[in-house]
């Protein structure tokens, strides 16, 4: 077990280094540069050069990369070229919006996908079971942007229950207002992610129903539902955790779109703006943290699986 964990940890670190190189190189391929963005239209080449060398962008690329990496190793993600604030500070500030948004979206997705998924599996072949499945397929196909706009029109513009966009300027000082601002965007992501999750829960449940241990339990006198609840669902739950781990990346992508649509000052929107302005050191830091986060979640899910599921330990 410990050997497995160590091997997995080394893989995680290698993954991070490879990601850092990829991020660094890919961003350098983009046309345009921040010095020109700061100087803007009406600037002279001399003005742009002065800004560029002031920002240290005229140094060779390998030097810039190692500079960045040595900072990261010391726990310093660098400084935004544009705003002059540390990347870590800005990330932490934006995470106050994006992390609760992601958690809320995931909770919403779980709340409806798990019961509906199980129910539709147990009702396979019946009209209501089919309805759920078809409904989920339709929902999963809905574009996030359209779903968000519809929700805004109904709940913000018509009914006036929830804010149409933005996040309270006082942040979490007023938690009720903050949660209210996040609800519509979270529902939007939650519906789409949840619809995908629902289909997964359904197939996992169907698989569990066919397993020997569930049939054995049923043979001992439990109803099919009872047998599923006591013996099948724990196994379904295990695989749901794996899928949730994978969905973290999906939710981050969803946040990029949704934060734009709802003008939420979160990590997703910050990324889009920073790429647009070519604030490369900042984008680097942001992407590295996000990549690291997804990798760590994957690592945690793997370890968790090992601990919980005896079959995997034996298989080694």
């Amino acid at each position: 077990m410990i050997r497995y964990a160590l091997t997995r940890l080394v893989l995680l670190l290698v993954g991070l280094v490879v990601a850092s190189v990829l991020i660094f190189v890919t961003l350098r391929v983009l046309p345009g540069d921040i010095a020109q963005m700061i100087a803007g239209v009406g600037s002279t080449p001399a003005q742009v050069e002065a800004i560029r060398s002031g920002l240290g962008l005229d140094r060779p690329l390998p030097v810039q990369y190692f500079d960045w990496m040595s900072g990261v190793v010391r726990g310093d993600l660098g400084t935004s070229l544009l705003t002059g604030t540390p990347v870590a500070t800005e990330l932490a500030q934006k995470a106050e919006v994006t992390v609760p948004l992601g958690l809320l979206a995931m909770a919403i997705a779980l709340v409806f996908s798990v019961p509906l998924g199980v129910a539709s599996a147990l009702r396979r072949g019946r009209a209501d079971g089919t309805m759920i499945t078809v409904g989920a397929q339709a929902l999963a196909a809905v574009p996030v942007v359209w779903a968000g706009m519809m929700l805004v029109v109904v709940f913000a513009v018509w009914l006036g229950w929830l804010p149409a966009q933005g996040f309270p300027r006082s942040g979490w000082a007023d938690p009720a207002a903050a949660w209210r601002a996040l609800l519509l965007p979270a529902i939007t992501i939650g519906i789409v992610e949840g619809a995908m999750l629902l289909r997964f829960v359904r197939s996992a449940t169907l698989q569990a129903v066919g397993q020997d241990y569930v049939r054995a339990a049923a043979a001992k006198g439990l109803t099919r539902t009872q047998a599923m609840l006591r013996h099948g669902l724990p196994n379904v739950g295990l695989s749901i955790i794996t899928v949730l781990g994978l969905q973290v990346a999906g939710i981050i992508v969803g946040a990029v779109v949704i934060e734009q649509l709802f003008s939420l000052p979160g990590i997703g929107r910050m990324l889009v703006v920073d790429v647009g302005q070519r604030d490369l050191p900042k984008v680097q830091g942001e992407l590295l943290v996000l990549t690291g986060f997804v990798l760590v979640v994957g690592f945690a899910v793997d370890l968790f699986h090992r601990v919980i599921d005896p079959r995997q330990r034996e298989a080694q």
């Binding site: 700061i38 009406g42 002031g54 019961p115 513009v157 966009q165 996040f167 609800l183 070519r278």
Partner: protein, 501 residues
């Protein structure tokens, strides 16, 4: 139990929504009284957020809108109608020969940090801009040979007359900052204006607060929030949900939607926005003036103005708000037949051209251009790029055939007299006329010379001007004193008021 789960989940969802509905406390009641509330907070939707607040180095109209007049001031300023008016100078005088400018500095002006404004601060500010080439607009003060202070009198002398000098002082180059100020200009500001910069939530908003030590009439509201909402639809939603009081940069085609519930009125004012279709004459086939003329005559300018929903046609480089404007519609009447003949003459049938356009401009204008040019046998390919890519490819490297950008700056004719600008237009006669206009000490004469130069630029078909944009602003009914002319360039909010609802 499982049987009821789907239902339970649905109830839970509905319950969650109902709960939030109960805590909703929005009361956007329409105003009944017109009494201005001096403690009001006004939220103004803006399109573009500045990257940082350093007005000395960072480009972009977003910074001018936010900081000039509201936070920073110069000796002189300009009204929305583009008239030059005194600001930190109570009075000014220009000598006969146009070489000496004398300003009387106001007394009792203090900076936001409490320090008094001294004549030396003015001398230092102007000198520093002139001597620091990396500062925006530094070259606009290049002709300044000296700036001195004697008591409250500031005297500036120029090496040669410059009819644009006073105008330049109303812009960034003329802003007065505190000498030796340690404020980090990227994130904070220390000016003399009616508002102090109170907070900046990056990616969201900037809040300005009324400055109680202001030398002039105090601002009409205690707080102005610049809310940066780039998405048009999100801005409309925010307005309809009562979250913003004013929407600038509004889409005139959505006027009915925002006016429907009676809380907003859409105001359309003139602006110096020029929808400029640059044509790169450095390369074939656009080097042939007949091809450029054909493109201009193929374009239905009235249709473009109609599609945008506001603004007017403009057939030369100078818009109506700027000096030297004249109606040049006779130069290129819309005539597809003539366009086809010109192309045939130039041997440029079955032409294929690429239009490089920053992607945030949307597709309305491009679609009309594709269709208009298709009618005369030109295939137009649209290449939407990010703005930074546009800056790199078009602005710096001049690697383009056609390009579209909305140039918002007022009085920017100089770009047609500058062959190193990305337009690449090089005409000695235009450069000479522009130089004469700058050297003219009589305003009417200066304007007349500009008009002559502008006509030549248009007759050379150096570019096409698809439209002269309008300032489209949706103003909440409780708001008064909102400027509506040329707000995309400058936005002085000292006089805005909000009535008690």
């Amino acid at each position: 139990m499982l049987r009821r789960t789907p239902l339970a989940a649905a109830v839970l969802m509905a319950g969650a929504l109902a709960l939030t509905a109960c805590t909703a406390e929005q009361t956007p009641a329409p105003s009944t009284s017109a009494v201005a509330d001096p403690n009001a907070s006004v939220t103004v939707r803006m399109v573009a957020e500045p990257g940082n607040l350093d007005i000395r180095e960072t480009a972009g109209a977003a910074l001018d809108q936010l900081l000039i007049d509201n936070v920073y001031q110069g000796l002189v300023s300009r009204t929305p109608e583009q008239d030059i008016v005194p600001s930190l100078a109570s009075d000014y005088e220009v000598s006969e020969d146009g070489l000496t400018y004398t300003f009387t500095l106001r007394e009792g002006v203090v900076f936001h940090d409490g320090q008094p404004l001294t004549p030396q601060d003015v001398v230092w500010s102007l000198t520093q801009v002139r001597d620091t080439p990396s500062y925006r607009d530094a070259e606009r003060l290049a002709g300044m040979t000296s700036v001195t202070a004697d008591g409250q009198t500031i005297t500036i002398t120029l090496s040669q007359p410059d009819s644009s000098f006073l105008w330049n002082l109303t812009g960034r180059a003329g802003l007065v900052l505190k000498e030796g100020d340690a404020t980090d200009r990227k994130t904070a500001a220390n000016g003399t204006g009616p508002f102090t910069l109170s907070s900046w939530r990056q990616g969201d908003s900037v809040t300005l607060q009324r400055f109680d030590g202001y030398w002039g009439d105090p601002a009409g509201v205690s707080e102005v929030i610049f809310a940066y909402i780039p998405e048009t639809q999100a801005a409309l939603n925010a307005a309809l949900a009562g979250e913003v009081d004013v929407v600038t940069g509004f889409d005139a085609n959505l006027s009915e939607q925002i006016e429907a519930n009676g809380d907003f009125t859409v105001e359309v004012g003139a602006s110096t926005d020029k929808g400029t279709l640059a044509m790169n004459a450095a390369a074939e086939p656009l080097a042939d003036v007949r091809v450029r003329q054909a493109i201009r005559q193929a374009i239905d300018h009235d249709a473009i103005v109609e599609a945008i929903g506001a603004g007017q046609t403009q057939y030369g480089p100078i818009p109506e708000l700027d000096p030297g404007h004249e109606d040049l519609s006779d130069v290129v009447p819309h005539d597809p037949e003539a366009a086809r003949e010109l192309l045939a003459e130039a041997g440029a049938e079955d032409l294929e051209l690429t239009l490089t356009i920053p992607s945030f401009y949307g597709t309305t204008v491009s679609q009309i251009l594709v269709s208009n040019l298709h009618d005369v046998g030109v295939t137009l390919e649209i290449d939407p790029v990010e703005f930074s890519a546009w800056l790199n490819d078009v602005y710096v490297n001049r690697d383009y055939e056609l390009s579209f950008v909305l140039h918002t700056e007022a009085r920017d004719f100089e770009n047609w007299a500058d062959p190193s600008y990305y337009f690449g237009y090089d005409n000695a006669e235009v450069q000479e006329l522009f130089a004469q206009s700058l050297a003219a000490t009589d305003e009417a004469e200066a304007d007349e010379l500009l008009a002559q130069a502008a006509r030549i630029v248009s007759e050379d078909h150096a570019a096409d001007w698809l439209y002269n944009g309008a300032s489209v602003v949706a103003v909440g009914d409780s708001i008064a004193g909102m400027p509506t002319v040329n707000v995309n360039e400058r936005l002085n909010l000292a006089e805005i008021t909000k009535s008690e609802g």
